[in-house]
Amino acid sequence: MRHYEMMVILDPSLDERTVAPSLETFLNVIRTSGGEVEKLDVWGRRRLSFEIDKKAEGIYAVLDITCTPEAVKELDRQLGLTESVLRTKVLRREVKKARKAAKAPAAAKA
């Protein structure tokens, strides 16, 4: 199980309120494989700094996920196939808190 950060840019013609529920359906892939979705943050509509598929705006959503590599891969694949998704990005990042916690005991010993 690993921690992933995922950003999705969705078609601006969608209704912002429907974004979270529609993403939830995709997230079932994670949940059924034993993963966990820690955070689903919908930034809302935002100007793109350059056009993607002739669109000047996009609806941004950021996810924090803990799951197996296969599960994110599948989620990314499914989102990529969806037409209302302009772009996705998956990054593996350590959680800041975890890093700090790891540092703190070391400092305490010294």
């Binding site: 840019i9 700094s49 350059f50 990005k89």
Partner: protein, 76 residues
């Protein structure tokens, strides 16, 4: 002699990141914008005054942000 004369060494901005930020977040566009020129190019280390490690972190963050259209691709 004119050779001896040099422009007074300007103090580097040095460690702009350390002003509160210990870890660069690629989603923090307001911060990253300080490290790109008006044409969208990443500023050189001699300009930013960052350590090599910090500069690398910032550069990677900017490139990630560019991919997601948070920052402009450098033009011209």
């Amino acid at each position: 002699m004119s050779k001896e004369r040099r422009a007074p060494a300007r103090k580097k901005q040095n460690l702009l990141v350390r002003e509160g930020v210990s870890e660069v977040d690629w989603k923090d566009t307001a911060l990253l914008r300080k490290f790109i020129s008006d044409r969208g190019k990443i500023r050189a280390r001699r300009v930013t005054g960052l350590t090599p490690q910090q500069q690398r972190e910032v550069a990677i963050a900017i490139k990630n942000a560019r991919e997601m259209a948070l920052l402009p691709q450098s033009t011209k």
